[in-house]
Point group: D2
Chain length 435, copies 4
Amino acid sequence: MIPRYSRPDMVAIWSPESKFRIWFEIEAHACDAMADLGVIPKENAQAVWTAKDAQFDVARIDEIEAVTKHDVIAFLTHLSEIVGADNARFVHQGMTSSDVLDTCFNIQLTRAADILLADMDALLEALKRRAFEHKMTVRIGRSHGIHAEPTTMGLTFARFYAEMARNRTRLQAARAEIATGALSGAVGTFANIDPAIEEHVCAQLGLSPEPISTQVIPRDRHAAFFATLGVIASSIENVAIEVRHMQRTEVLEAEEFFSKGQKGSSAMPHKRNPVLTENLTGLARLVRMAVVPAMENVALWHERDISHSSVERNIGPDTTVTLDFALSRLTQVVDKLVVYPDQMQANLDKLGGLVHSQRVLLALTQKGVSREDAYALVQRNAMKVWEQGADFMTELKADADVTAVMSVSEIEEKFDLGYHTKNVDTIFARVFGTA
Amino acid sequence: MIPRYSRPDMVAIWSPESKFRIWFEIEAHACDAMADLGVIPKENAQAVWTAKDAQFDVARIDEIEAVTKHDVIAFLTHLSEIVGADNARFVHQGMTSSDVLDTCFNIQLTRAADILLADMDALLEALKRRAFEHKMTVRIGRSHGIHAEPTTMGLTFARFYAEMARNRTRLQAARAEIATGALSGAVGTFANIDPAIEEHVCAQLGLSPEPISTQVIPRDRHAAFFATLGVIASSIENVAIEVRHMQRTEVLEAEEFFSKGQKGSSAMPHKRNPVLTENLTGLARLVRMAVVPAMENVALWHERDISHSSVERNIGPDTTVTLDFALSRLTQVVDKLVVYPDQMQANLDKLGGLVHSQRVLLALTQKGVSREDAYALVQRNAMKVWEQGADFMTELKADADVTAVMSVSEIEEKFDLGYHTKNVDTIFARVFGTA
Amino acid sequence: MIPRYSRPDMVAIWSPESKFRIWFEIEAHACDAMADLGVIPKENAQAVWTAKDAQFDVARIDEIEAVTKHDVIAFLTHLSEIVGADNARFVHQGMTSSDVLDTCFNIQLTRAADILLADMDALLEALKRRAFEHKMTVRIGRSHGIHAEPTTMGLTFARFYAEMARNRTRLQAARAEIATGALSGAVGTFANIDPAIEEHVCAQLGLSPEPISTQVIPRDRHAAFFATLGVIASSIENVAIEVRHMQRTEVLEAEEFFSKGQKGSSAMPHKRNPVLTENLTGLARLVRMAVVPAMENVALWHERDISHSSVERNIGPDTTVTLDFALSRLTQVVDKLVVYPDQMQANLDKLGGLVHSQRVLLALTQKGVSREDAYALVQRNAMKVWEQGADFMTELKADADVTAVMSVSEIEEKFDLGYHTKNVDTIFARVFGTA
Amino acid sequence: MIPRYSRPDMVAIWSPESKFRIWFEIEAHACDAMADLGVIPKENAQAVWTAKDAQFDVARIDEIEAVTKHDVIAFLTHLSEIVGADNARFVHQGMTSSDVLDTCFNIQLTRAADILLADMDALLEALKRRAFEHKMTVRIGRSHGIHAEPTTMGLTFARFYAEMARNRTRLQAARAEIATGALSGAVGTFANIDPAIEEHVCAQLGLSPEPISTQVIPRDRHAAFFATLGVIASSIENVAIEVRHMQRTEVLEAEEFFSKGQKGSSAMPHKRNPVLTENLTGLARLVRMAVVPAMENVALWHERDISHSSVERNIGPDTTVTLDFALSRLTQVVDKLVVYPDQMQANLDKLGGLVHSQRVLLALTQKGVSREDAYALVQRNAMKVWEQGADFMTELKADADVTAVMSVSEIEEKFDLGYHTKNVDTIFARVFGTA
């Protein structure tokens, strides 16, 4: 987690304070359930809740952990200092540290997912707004970086919207994957703890009980979760690369927003670098690098080993914090992207109308010209445009063999951009439910 | 794809014959839709279907491709040889090669997913059968490779079942992700092809129309698909590692099945190596390695570049073929795993009853012994067992300070394995819906 | 390994024929060494060499393996059919299959490395030739895709040369890493085989004896080897991305070579796609994906498990074959790259001389103008260029405040491209040893 | 970077204070070189060194950066506050921020490498000491987790030594890879800065001048560096896995050191978990995950984009800090590993002498018994041992068909462990140069 690529709400989820707060809630709800089962006295269970509004002293807990070398015991000792030893001795009965740690981790991931879902909502809204704004802003479509046929800037935004909407669905599924809790004891047999306790705690904390756990919650859930974050990061890179291409000096169809004061190098007005989207490209790599370790974490030995722990202490916070920052940054980029329709038109015109050559070719064949002859006709005019910078329509109109079969208005009609945008509404209706 | 780790049905999906068959169906259905729209004559569309039962000549197509340097054109030329040039000239109108290639790739992935789903059904069935068979076969649960508390072999199978069932759900979602088709033309604008054609072809081929495509179907879908295969592979590794641990000489709680004739080294009857599960561990790495490239494929330039293609030509077949083989092999391993309940009991007894020390400790405190004193009592008897190989129960019964508060039958009751298995039915009901 | 991305020499290294040939040589040389030690009779050792010119029958060996389920035994059985059982019974004494398999694998990797080194030599030669050819071909240098200051095309080729030269050095080190052999018996103790045999076989086959092996050669060597291939692939991607950028329609400073006949779409002369370098971008991902599995292979259990085997059966051939193809393809791209100096100049001029604004700014301050005033002077002229498409030099000459401190020739001198190329020779001398 | 897995010396390298100190040195040495060239006055260059012993105020620099949004400018402004504006205006002339940033990053990586090399020296020393200590401590060698033939614990340590020694060599090469500096100006042409300045600064700071840079130092160097760290991490995992296996309850041939006070669960003396090596297994994954992003960083656009920066801000510190911690932890584990030779012997004896069955088989054939008969003889006795827990030697001595060809002493000789250790000295001489 790098401070400059972090936002406070997500960072807060991973603070020691948040962690101890969650630990407390797990323990206190478990006490309630034990009291309901008659395992511990109700008054002691209620007394534990007196710590509800207490501020846990992280430094104090660290101090105790330095002695006990055990984080959960250190916390419980500190809790005892707050609620009194008489009550504290009923806490954590029959539970294992992993019951607390794993359930807490999943709560943190779930909360992180909620922030990420909200991030994606904001991003989707921005993409949708810009899509409709530029629904009919024509630009050249490119395959292999080479001009192909016209499309619109709205379609570009719309496809990013559709991709991010899929990612949102995936993230919701991934959130459900890790919204489970386990309080099943040493090796998951519920030997020392009744399954009803797990059910109560989970219900209180918005989790599902893990149907079968060992000492730990199975890590395939986390692998699926981090893999989903990796896919989202890859889509962020996809948008970022498009913006970086659009901003390059020779293309300049769009630029990341620059505030008045910021204006790049004062001496070089052209030197506005797409640093935000370049940064997003790097952040995508950081999120993606967690995917393989999360998968390597699945195969724990027997009922558990602790190899996953150091990995998760890193990728849990780092990946969610980075992705939150990246989604937010991308939303700003999309929201404020400066689009240059004139430059889009200029680029479209750059090839003197050659982007319409295929339509002309087709029209000639439909007029009865053989495929070979039509090719020759188109090609000889196209080459003039390509090599001498001529205008394709002008050349066609001046070619007697062409005008012998196509009228001037028929030729002009082939250069109509409306031909390429006629189904934009249909596509928008598919993506947004409305055009 | 390595032949020795391949099965014919999955390999067949990726054969040139299958590919050309799918290309044909896409083109023929597209002709039907064009005929319905009046774009091409109905009789020509019908005539294209005469190739339905034809065998496409792969060598001939390769021959043509060697000249044209274009696989789709080579196929269309060969198709023309079958249905006649008069009909063939109506084929592929307004389409781009990617319409055929991408839709075909998704059909292949969908069919691959169907095989994998069937594989998983077989694996789930085997896991379930073995889980019920060994529901109450007690074995020691281990954390960190160290004996912890008793569990059952049935629970081990059951947790693998639950994990694989989650994977099945994930795979179904991933299948839905890539069950889309696109026939949207050069840059996805439907400029030269009516959206109705895409809808018809997709409906005929069991696909959904891609809501918005460029020249290609967006690759976040494929990233999510291959990530899911990576999670499944990691779960395969998880089971494989458990079997490898169980089979090691000192543990020997289970062995991969050996046929009579096979019986390892004839001179060394103990030398039965868990080679199948070791192999599965390696295959898991192979499947997993496709995840990152699939994610790197998402950020294509503008409306498409072709960097994804070589990656997919490899990971498409390789990953699905390897995973199919691995799932099938794992099913055999599970199905025929030779389980040794006696050895499980022997291992459980190996520590002379020390696995019950926590219960004794708890019982002493519940009898009013202070936590400190109870620890001391348990520890001094436990150390005798640990250091001198004594029996824990015997020592406890011989310790006057213990018998002063616990009767012999109370001591014996603490060694009851039923304590640890009492919730197995509950867990089975959660996992299987029935115990 | 995908046939279309394969070259025959590298593929041949991985053929069954090559493998069995190497196995034979290992066994025959081992027989010689055993005979020297008096372990087996000299005449039998010599007799084994009668198979030297024999063609091993792969189908026959497969047939035997189908029965024995063991590849090395199948080979030895077939060898026995050639040299006679009387001689064959002296073959492989005290050896373990891994002695043959691992030593063979390293020989194959070493041979693969030799081909790759030759590939790199060809690539380096092409890069060097093009570097000198375009040593002084000025083009705009770009940071963030935005015009920065002038550089030369020769420097671009030169930096790729320097990078590939480093890669060549790395590959030589990696080749040395895996040029070891081991004939140390079941668990590497030389209990059943004298170390002198390993030394002889290795000396004959151009390998170093592995100082300490278990049943297998340690896999950190292979991890380092495949990691090196991953770095090389990343450098290939680096060159590929540069070419793809240069070829895009708006930049067009270079193009991949097109043969006369090939000439893209006949109707669209601009539609020459950089498909070779796009393909190289994908191939780089394929090579890189082997790095992590090769690292996961390092931690084998105890003296060996066989999890690495299936991984290596795949990445051994696939990665070397793909990289060989990629290096060769890149060499062709570099060798035949069509460079457009005029377009480079046009792009450089695109900003009306603004790329020189920093030099003008510096010159003004050196003339005694305050930093603030100098900025203001430069900026007001730069903005005219940027916003109205004016020419920067013309504007400066027309600005009385500028000409008050700088003469016309002084202004013009600031636009001299020689200022930027004055150290090109120095850099070339560093890279190539000569300018 | 996770505090609990960090050590102060490595963390210090990455502190803001260290970074600004390095920036200062680069700038001050550059001033010296400029003064030598007569570009700036000598007295101003000398005056800059007055900041040599100054403490840079990180908070103040952050404050300035909040306004300027540029870290290098913020630092230079702060430097100006220390050395005076009159001197400061000569600092950084003709340089670009990347000259400072990239050279600094490489210095940090070089220093990190020096710590890692020292870490490896300590680890090698511990491995060597333990290797000689247990040179002849016999234990069973295992393939596939199954008993194979005897080896020694010293050989186990020795092979880890050899592997780590290779890693040390690799790391030294990797250190050399990134020990370069660049002060080559905006796009690497030395247009505004003389190459002599780069040479002087690099010489003063222990770096080589980068032969050809763009705006940045080429990232293939860093890819190779992080790949090397990934290989080292994989070797750490290799050792860790061996320890984890040795410590498992059923094997217990060694244990991580437990201090008196620590002694696991007081009630469960067997519950000493190999948590250090499990942790190392996880840390290895964390180091390894940086390899692919470092490779993705190689292909920057044109003369540079800034996508690599966020990746390196993370993996630079995180990977070196984690690896430093891991190497140090592993050294402690090795240094203090509690080895149980008696238990090794007990495990060796576990199979009643069956590990010698191959030697007996071989001896029988050498006595003239046919291979088939020898097999049958060995097998019928081996099966008794395997199935009924008998002792192999006893059974052989009682088998008249065996004793008909082998004397009792000949049989006994086949069970001599010395047979397996006879070449240990030879191997040690290879690994350590001396036995």
